[in-house]
């Protein structure tokens, strides 16, 4: 228990501190790197609660894909982040006020209440028990059977995202030289080479 608590506080502290650094860092590349650190610590917290599938997915998807994409965007696009941030301080008090009110409301609502036993129960004992089946296997059991409907709609949503990305950004430019392998292979010496007899002393 002691060791687990120690690691919990370690991960939690580093997660919060690096999350703070994401918005506090001056250099946007540092921000993204701190974001990655936050993801790693969140994954550590998931591991501590026994959700190893979520932990791995968090790393694969968020660190492997999303954060790297962020890095690309930050480094490739010439966005002046210092200028974008300059207005942030003006709105900070209003934002903080709204945040504090919302947090206070949430604390008031959630403090005096307990979750429904059915939800709390199913959270406490994942079905089937962890010793029999790992997270990943248990998810695989239901994902393509009980939850096939949701899984398929998620596929449709991704299809729409793909169509959308293409239709909004793909431009067919004219006069672009593309490699046409058929044309390349079909070339013969007759079409490709011109034999010129050069008379001595005259040049072409």
């Amino acid at each position: 228990m002691g060791l687990q608590a120690l690691f919990f506080y370690l991960f939690a502290f580093v997660a919060v501190a690096s999350a703070f650094m994401v918005i506090a860092a001056r250099n946007p590349v540092h921000s993204v790197l701190f974001l990655i650190l936050t993801f790693f610590n969140a994954a550590g917290l998931f591991l501590l609660t026994g959700a190893e599938f979520l932990a791995m997915i968090l790393l694969v998807v968020y660190v492997g894909a999303v954060a790297v994409l962020f890095l690309f965007v930050v480094m490739m696009l010439d966005v002046d982040f210092a200028e974008m941030k300059s207005g942030a301080l003006e709105y900070a008090p209003v934002g903080a006020l709204v945040g504090i009110i919302l947090a206070a409301e949430l604390i008031i609502v959630l403090a005096g209440n307990t979750f429904h036993p059915a939800a709390a129960g199913s959270g406490a004992s994942p079905i089937p028990a962890l010793s029999e089946r790992t997270n990943t296997q248990a998810l695989g059991d239901v994902l393509y059977t009980d939850y096939i409907f949701y899984f398929q709609i998620a596929g449709m949503v991704l299809l729409v995202a793909m169509i959308g990305a293409i239709v909004l950004t793909l431009r067919h430019r004219e006069h672009i030289k593309r490699q046409d392998i058929n044309q390349q292979v079909a070339r013969t010496p007759e079409t490709a080479i011109e034999v010129v007899k050069v008379k001595p002393g005259q040049g072409i």
Binding site: I153, A154, A161
Partner: protein
């Protein structure tokens, strides 16, 4: 899931499967037949939607599918038919305009089909997860079509604005759904209702309900979540706006009805307050904010906000008569809106293309009397003047509200309707009594057909009101 359950589930969702598979086939057809295939793809997409509608009405049975996530009942069928009609009409109106405005991409009809699929899934959703997935499928397709004219700054701005605000509202909806799950232990609507009715209602559940309804209210553009509507309506290409104003509103309203009537039936008093508040807000804001508008698409945006408020009056009653009122109101609203947008699409000048200012309608009665007459009928109907359809829509919801003893709501509704009549009648005045400032190009046949049919529908609604009322009765009885 056993094979038998899977088979029966698939049978119940045949129209949705047709749309899903059809959209992919159309995408392939479009890709392989090149850039200029938009007319063919659009025609095939319309045929696909019509076939799905026929299968829905003639073949599909009633029942639950996919472990209760998907529900096929008379209410769902009625609303799905409405959504399909709205989508088909908008798509028919799209082609000519898309060609003229150079946004004739074959992806446009494909995205319309996918959005329609999302709407049908929303209408049939009987579970929080199914609700969210359907809603996202529909919304994501709509964000893209709002920005489809990517060379126009206004269109891209509309798409981006819609996307950012839509993502925010989805976040709120998900947060609410997770709280509801936390306090009831279930995601299915029936199970949620059972869990609530068992014990005392907790504050956390009400908190979740508020967030959930905020997310749905955004989708029907009810006050105070209406801010996006005028800008998106104005910025998006007009046929896309026509699509936005009709089918998605029907689907989101059906979703709204199902959530509060089925899942939160035991806490009726709590959601009733919320619905009354957003209903009054929408009616009043729609009535006042539309007065100063000069752009007819912005005016229609405020008009649609107000109409959502009127429809919610019926929902606030929470009775069978109220739900019947909502169903009929959405039907009539959709017909009127599509007809009006057909007229807006017909506002096209030879020299400066499509025009959108209300003043451009000046003297329409002398240049195009038929269109002026139909638009006049539609405007009178939107204002709610008897014996046109718009009057009956309002009548049903107000009667339901009075039966439920919501007198203040009904009175505010009638007053807002009177104020709203001003700007509808102003358009009529501009058409008939102002000097013409130039004429429009001859109206395309499909637009003439759409505003002709909708004009005649609202004019002779009295004749068809009986069978439609019976169908709405059957649909509303689903819940009671």
């Amino acid at each position: 899931m056993t094979p038998e359950i899977l088979t029966s589930s698939l049978q119940l969702s045949v129209p949705e499967l047709m749309l899903a598979v059809g959209a992919m086939v159309l995408l392939m057809v479009g890709v392989f037949s090149g850039e200029k295939s938009v007319t063919m793809v659009n025609g095939l997409a319309v045929a696909l939607l019509i076939m799905a509608g026929l299968v829905l009405v003639l073949v599909t049975g009633n029942g639950e599918a996919f472990n209760g996530a998907f529900l096929s009942d008379p209410f769902a069928k009625f609303m799905k038919v409405l959504a399909l009609i709205g989508a088909i009409t908008a798509m028919v109106m799209t082609v000519g305009h898309a060609k003229a405005e150079r946004i004739d991409k074959f992806e446009l009809p494909v995205l319309f089909v996918l959005a329609t699929l999302g709407m049908m899934l929303m209408i049939s959703a009987n579970d929080m997860i199914a609700l969210y997935m359907g809603l996202e499928l529909q919304s994501l397709a709509l964000y893209v079509v709002a920005a489809i004219n990517r060379d126009s700054q206004r269109s891209t701005e509309a798409g981006l604005k819609y996307f950012v605000l839509g993502a925010l509202s989805s976040g709120m909806l998900l947060y609410g759904a997770s709280l509801v799950y936390g306090y009831t232990g279930h995601t299915g609507f029936d199970e949620i209702a059972a869990a609530i009715s068992g014990g005392e209602r907790s504050l956390g559940l009400i908190f979740g309900l508020v967030f959930l309804l905020a997310g749905v209210a955004f989708k029907i553009s009810a006050v105070p979540f209406h801010m996006w509507t005028p800008d998106v309506y104005e910025g998006a290409p007009t046929p896309v706006t026509a699509f936005f104003a009709a089918a998605p509103k029907v689907a989101a309203m059906a979703l709204f009805v199902r959530i509060v009537i089925v899942a939160f039936e035991p806490v009726t008093l709590d959601w009733q307050q919320i619905v009354v508040f957003i209903s009054i807000g929408s009616m009043v804001l729609g009535a006042f904010a539309a007065i100063g508008q000069k752009n007819i698409k912005r005016l229609m945006a405020y008009s649609s906000i107000a109409h959502m408020g009127f429809a919610l009056v019926g929902l606030a009653a929470g009775s069978q008569a109220g739900v019947r009122g909502v169903i009929l109101y959405m039907l009539i609203y959709m017909v009127m809106t599509l007809g009006t947008f057909a007229c807006i699409l017909a506002m096209r000048r030879k020299e400066d293309g499509n025009v959108e200012q209300i003043d451009d309608l000046a003297g329409l009665s002398s240049t195009n009397p038929f269109m002026a007459l139909m638009l006049t009928i539609l405007m009178f109907s939107l204002a709610g003047i008897p014996p046109l359809a718009g009057f009956f829509g309002k009548y049903f919801v107000f009667v339901a509200a009075i039966e439920a003893k919501l007198y203040a709501l009904a009175i505010i509704g009638v007053l807002a309707s009177v104020i709203g009549a001003y700007y509808y009648l102003r358009i009529v005045k501009i058409m008939w009594f102002d000097q013409p400032s130039g004429s429009f190009v001859p109206v395309a046949g499909e637009l003439k057909l759409v505003f002709g049919i909708s004009g005649l529908f609202v004019l002779f609604y009295v004749i068809v009101s009986n069978p439609l009322g019976l169908a709405a009765d059957v649909a509303a009885k689903t819940f009671f």
